[in-house]
């Protein structure tokens, strides 16, 4: 044996041992069932997992969402780190929600990619991630002011409606107007309001109508101006979150005139917990109890002290959840709460969102791909089945067509798969390319294409043998002549695979990964490894007739 050959043998053995060792973790991990995993020591399992191939979301089930952050309304100084803060807030929320190994990454200028593997309740997670959850404590305008606002809306609406010809203050029938008709004509908006404890309410079925009317008038100019800054109105309009039933009558929704400036916002909250019994009228209703920061507590105490007898609204994302009357000054340090028609889960999620902090800017989900756990399992089963059947067919074909040499090619194929899996399990963890369903398809395709290099070589060797060359010369020339062809042919597939790696995302990228690794590995196994085997055999036994 020449020293050159000895080195080659050592190299091939080394690669094979490495590949077998690196891929053994994956095989062990994938072949374990849930109870076996539970019985294993946590540290050991962690180690096994870290050294295994990671499965893509399409195979293990899970959720991939892309969020777009709307930074437009942000002041320049806040926009700078808005993305980082958004990621932090989302990370906090997900941590509290409890997902194993979430991945949250910024992509480009204004996008965040969130990947949550093995998720059970994807809809809830989605709500939780994207929710703005703007909590505000806002003073409700005194009843007299509320009346003024309603009158102004009436007047503005009269102008709009008479201008469009929909309303005439005169009688249409010629008969003198009754008092009720007169009233209705002069108060086209507030005529539908009912008062309870000095607050206006609208019938639930009238709310949509009322909102349409408010959209028809220029509300910002109708509302009284802020005395300190005349360019903005002093108030804003908000609706009660929950409809209320008075006696046996129909359901009503409260109509609030709120101060434009919030007295306090959710940023002053330091802790939030779900607790029952926060609502005296409905003690079983879950609610969220909150503690305010020191400064927030002081503001709260000061406001409640000077506004006794007035309403204070607790507003979440623009809807009023409750608006109790301030009975006395609430000293700093007293917990405050929000209740109102939450389910247990909603209350829990709200507490999470309030604790984790507010998103710096609104976000929208622009892409989402969620795979349920059973589809993921199906895909693995079916993919592996296709792979095994394909593999067996190729093995049979190679053995029948190339006999013992075909056996060597099959061994090279097995080595090829071990190398690909070993490399994929060894690549740096973040972001380690995961095995996706198209990736599995790439691996299957590799089985078919990887033997190509050996087919090229074997066909050459057969040709050389037909030309009456000796076995050793035929092998030597066959490998040499086929080499350039193999290179040329594989480079083009690699170009296509590289493009997939560059432009693809998620699953498609996974295909590019297995395809390119498969081709690279096949160049080694088919050209170097099988050659070593052939050389060893022919040197050792001085074969006169090759089984090919």
């Amino acid at each position: 044996m020449t020293s050159n050959m000895r080195w080659k043998v050592i190299l091939v053995l080394l690669v094979l041992v490495l590949a077998a060792w690196r891929s053994s973790y994956t095989f062990r991990f994938l072949s374990m069932n849930e109870t076996e995993k539970e019985q294993m020591a946590a540290e050991q399992l962690e180690d096994l997992k870290a050294n295994s191939l990671s499965l893509g979301l399409d195979l293990q089930g899970g959720m991939h969402i892309v969020l777009e952050v709307d930074k437009e309304g942000l002041p320049a100084d806040e926009a700078v780190d808005a993305m980082e803060r958004a990621v932090e807030v989302i990370t906090n929320r997900i941590d509290q929600f409890g997902v194993a190994e979430p991945s949250i990454q910024i992509e480009g200028e204004n996008r965040i990619i969130v990947q949550l593997p093995g998720l059970k309740d994807e809809q809830r997670a989605k709500r939780l991630i994207g929710r703005t959850a703007l909590l505000e404590f806002i003073a409700v305008a005194p009843p007299a002011e509320t009346d003024i606002v309603l009158r102004s809306i009436d007047r503005a609406l009269i102008d709009t409606l008479t201008a469009s010809g929909e309303l005439s203050l005169e009688s249409e029938t010629g008969l003198p107007l009754t008092e009720a008709e007169q009233l209705a004509k002069e108060h086209p908006f507030s005529i539908r309001a009912r008062y309870l404890q000095q607050l206006p309410f609208f019938l639930e079925r009238d709310v949509e109508w009322a909102q349409e009317q408010l959209e028809r008038i220029d509300l910002d100019n109708v509302l009284p101006a802020n005395p300190t800054d005349l360019s903005v109105p002093r108030y804003r309009i908000a609706w009660g979150q929950e409809a209320r039933q008075f006696g046996t009558e129909e359901r009503y929704r409260a109509f609030y005139v709120l101060e434009r400036e919030a007295m306090l916002t959710g940023s002053a909250i330091v802790s939030a917990d779900v607790r029952p019994g926060l609502d005296q009228e409905n003690p079983n209703a879950p609610g969220v109890s909150m503690r305010l920061s020191r400064a927030g507590g002081r503001t709260f105490a000061k406001h409640t002290g000077s506004h006794i007898g007035e309403y204070l609204a607790v507003v979440l994302d623009g809807s009023v959840y409750k608006a109790p009357v301030i009975k006395s000054r609430i000293p700093a340090g007293t917990p405050t709460s929000i209740t109102g028609g939450f389910t247990d889960e909603e209350a829990k999620d709200l507490a999470i969102v309030l604790r984790a902090g507010k998103l710096p800017a609104p976000m929208t989900v622009i892409e989402e791909r969620t795979v349920g756990p059973s589809l993921g399992r199906d895909s693995i089963t079916l993919g592996l089945r296709a792979m095994v059947i394909g593999f067996i067919l190729v093995v049979i074909f190679m053995l029948v067509y190339y006999k013992a040499s075909g056996g060597i090619a099959v061994a090279a194929l097995v080595a090829n798969l071990l190398i690909v899996i070993g490399i994929m399990a060894t690549l740096p963890v973040n972001p380690r390319p995961a095995l996706t369903l198209p990736g599995l398809a790439g691996l299957i395709l590799t089985i078919g294409m990887a033997v190509d290099a050996n087919v090229l070589i074997f066909e050459r060797i057969r040709e050389e043998l037909r030309n009456q060359k000796t076995v050793r010369a035929a092998i030597r020339d066959g490998y040499e002549r086929a080499f350039m062809t193999i290179m040329d042919a594989n480079v083009t597939t690699l170009i296509a695979a590289a493009v997939l790696l560059r432009f693809g995302s998620g699953p498609v990228k996974g295909f590019g990964v297995t395809l390119s690794l498969g081709i690279l590995a096949s160049m080694f196994t088919a050209i170097v490894a099988t050659r070593v085997v052939f050389d060893l055999i022919t040197v050792k036994w001085n074969i006169k007739k090759l089984s090919i």
């Binding site: 589809l375 079916l382 296709a386 395709l445 170009i495 693809g504 295909f511």
Partner: protein, 302 residues
């Protein structure tokens, strides 16, 4: 075991017939695409929402449709997916933007058919902006792949070979897309990946033959170019067929056993590999021959 060794097929003699066959296949595809008002785009490119649900018992598309109508989802497209227990619901992104699509649809289905519970399998939502971006990305990917390949072949072979190879690629992609349109399948991201793989695979085949032509031109100096190409095609025939067989074996396994999710992808690969094998024999090399004949004719005229 050996077959297709020492063959003397006159591939080039049939090249005109092959050109007509190729043209016809491409034409059928183009007609199908035009008649259907363009290629059908999957939600990756068109945007929208795709929902896959599995029922415990068989379910009719009408039951699903009436449920969707009741909750205000208009113009949903409903298809059975690998059997009549599973369905794919495709709807516009507009409705899903304001609703929790998967949750509301599943609840509505369960309320309507309480004895046939539905299980969530998959949801894909692609906003219109992302759909547009992905279209651009896919186009760029194909463009870059073609440019990269053209450059590589131009370096390794004469220009006329590069032209023949790229023409064969365009031929393969066009026919595969035509079959896609005929079978009513939609274009998705994995299908684009399959197309790129076909490009790589078909080229692989072509290059093996080109390599042989280059070698034989040196070896068989004095023979006519047409004869040389015919000899090269015959010499590499067994390899071409064997590799196609092994690749087709696995791709067919993927198509038959790989499950519904990967079916379109495997379909594209299957068609592409058959057409790619055909084109490396009947399109890529004959085009080089035509080019050579035309060039020689020009030389004689001078």
């Amino acid at each position: 075991m050996e077959f297709l060794v020492g063959t003397k097929f006159n591939f080039l003699g049939h090249r005109r017939a092959a050109f007509i066959l190729s043209a016809a296949l491409i034409l059928i595809g183009v007609v199908s695409i035009v008649v259907q008002g363009g290629l059908k785009l999957g939600i990756d490119f068109a945007g929208g929402v795709l929902l896959q649900v599995r029922f415990e018992n068989p379910v009719s598309a009408e039951d699903i449709r009436s449920t969707l109508d009741a909750i205000g989802v208009e113009e949903a497209e409903i298809q059975h997916f690998g059997g009549n227990r599973e369905a794919i619901i495709r709807m516009s992104a507009e409705w899903a933007e304001e609703h929790d699509a998967a949750g509301e649809v599943l609840t509505a289905l369960d309320e309507r058919m309480p004895d046939n519970p539905a299980e969530f399998m998959r949801e894909e939502l692609v906003g219109p902006k992302v759909g547009q971006e992905l279209r651009g990305k896919a186009a760029m990917a194909i463009l870059y792949a073609l440019i990269g390949i053209l450059i590589y072949i131009s370096i390794r072979f004469e220009f006329k070979f590069a032209v023949g190879a790229v023409a064969a690629l365009v031929h393969d992609v066009a026919i595969t897309l035509g079959f896609f349109s005929l079978s009513g399948r939609g274009l998705t991201l994995p299908v684009i990946a399959a197309l790129l793989t076909i490009v790589g695979y078909s080229l692989n085949d072509t290059i093996v033959i080109y390599d042989r032509i280059r070698e034989d031109r040196r070896k068989l100096y004095g023979k006519s170019f047409v004869d040389i190409v015919n000899i090269s095609l015959n010499e590499s025939l067994s390899r071409t067929v064997v590799t196609s067989v092994t690749t087709l074996l696995v791709v067919l396994c993927l198509f038959i056993f790989g499950g519904e999710v990967i079916k379109d992808f495997a379909f594209a690969l299957t068609i592409g590999i058959i057409v790619g094998t055909y084109s490396s024999i009947y399109v890529a090399s004959p085009l080089v021959v035509e080019w050579q004949i035309a060039a020689e004719a020009r030389k004689h005229r001078k």
